[in-house]
């Protein structure tokens, strides 16, 4: 509710912040999800090690991706950046698996 109110009061600035927010929540998770899948099949380790290492690396990537959505020059840049990295990791997974 409070967010809605603020959004209505500052029509110019706030909606973009919250669009970026949505992108940070779901977009960054998408990147991390693809990255975890790629790492877990690429890493030359026993399954247990590969799984936990991939999960931890994906969390670090997700953090960077979340912050990137806010640092990027425009919303378009943010979407492109996340989309490209998700595609890259998805492709890596596809090749390796």
């Amino acid at each position: 509710m409070s967010l809605l109110y603020s959004a209505l009061r500052n029509r110019k600035k706030i909606p973009e912040i919250y669009l970026r927010g949505l992108l940070a929540i779901f977009g960054a998770y998408g990147v991390a999800f693809a990255a975890a899948a790629a790492f877990t099949v690429i890493l030359p380790m026993p399954p247990v090690d590969a799984a936990v290492t991939a999960a931890m690396l994906s969390y670090l990537l997700q953090t960077i991706a979340i912050l990137w959505t806010f640092v990027a020059k425009s919303l378009r840049h943010a979407i492109l950046g996340l989309g490209a990295s998700a595609a890259l990791f998805g492709g890596l997974y596809g090749v390796a698996a």
């Binding site: 409070s2 109110y5 899948a37 994906s58 953090t63 979340i66």
Partner: protein
Amino acid sequence: MDIRRPLSRFHSWFGLPLSWMLFFIFATGTLSFYRNEITFWMQPELHQVRQDDQGLDRALAVLETVASGAERWIINLPSERNPAINLAWTNPGGDARRPERKNLDPASGETIEPRATGGGNFFFRLHFELFGLDHATGRMITGFAAMAMFALIVSGIVIHRTLLKEFFTFRPKTNRVLWRDAHNVTAVLALPFHLVITFSGMTLLAPLLMPSAFTPHYSDNIRAFYMESRGFRPAERQKRDQPAAALPNVAAMIDTARSHWRGNDVGSVAIDNPGRVGSIVELKPSHALSIGIPSAGGGLRFDAKSGDMLDESGAASLSVAMAFWNSINSIHLGRFASPLMRFLLFLSGMLGTVMIAAGLISWHIIRAQRRKSGDSVPASHRLVEILNIAFIAGLPLAMIGFFWANRLIPAEIQNRTGMEENIFFLLWGLCFIHAALRRPHVKAWCEQLGIAGLMGLSLPLLNGLTGGAHLGESLPSGLWPVAGFDCLALIIGGGLAAIACFLWKRAKPAVGEGGKPC
């Protein structure tokens, strides 16, 4: 490009809506470091137990009479976290995860039937499953919240590059910077803890939160991952219906284990096929032997008949990845912690809770002071203030109310556990209503904090009056879970009451002149 500006917008706009949930998770999670102690306090029937060195023999004697045909006995020996002996056993055909249980006084061998209570487990469950949701959804939400918190911490570090300098900056004189400084000081003081506890929150939930890392190897059998990563032995089919044999000499095995573990005490004794041929005894240490080993690691198995040590679980050398994984998870669970370490974890959790609260308060105060004096207060700011009151002051009130409910609801009554929980949610709901209706807001703050403080301060008294061991008993006899709980109740209750007085004193002139306090 200066990335601090966009990051600080992220910090305040992303942080705000999440911080209420994070406050809830941190407050309930911090208490969970002491969940065994809390459960013990909440069962005053157990406070009378005393120690002597015959406890193990008495436990075995009780199990022989009540559980002679069982497949497995488990004896949890007295520790500084729980001075009673907990017995558990699985009858043939019973579910091993839901064993029969009894509590035992080590000094008398009498079994004690304590009251039913949610205990410390209530808060433990709340902190990662929330309420009113199915388990998976709740864990998913808290997992995402942990992710967001991790990003918030990193952004906070980048925003405040001059961390060390800010750490020594504390300006209590002005309202605005007081809370901002409090946010920074508590953040920096326990920064490694904040980073590790949020990151390990995610790793503990990883198979659910980031399934893509696991499914390529454990497609539809995530249990196999848990068994492997936690160092469980693959289940061996035990032969049942073996001929009778003498009970093992557990005391001798305990001596062997203690010297094998270089003095670490035995925490629990599990006996498979007790009193039968082919019986096996497994001893587990009271604390994890090192923070890197898996949760099921460190157990020693003995042949019941000969008393020879068979093997040690989880003793295989660990990869770097698993050692790191186990270490951060151990820290989150406080598995290895000695009393001092556990207290430091608790203290760090408290600092994290205060950090989130101070962040929420300063978000509101900064915007309140930017308003010109004639402006009406925007509804959004009012809403933030109301939620701040109901969470920061109301949640502690409801949590302390939960302990009151534990002692005021009669011990024998049906569905006590549910009633305790209902009172917690009822009190918290009332705090929301009170925060929404009471004006000026500072009165709502003071009243809720004041009531929570008084209720906390009187918990030790309530404990003594309702059958528990009061401080005069628990301190001299070294009943640490109870004495520690009462002392912390005094400190936290006193702290809440002091904040209420502080706020009230400062707001008084403004309220008296009929002005508008924040």
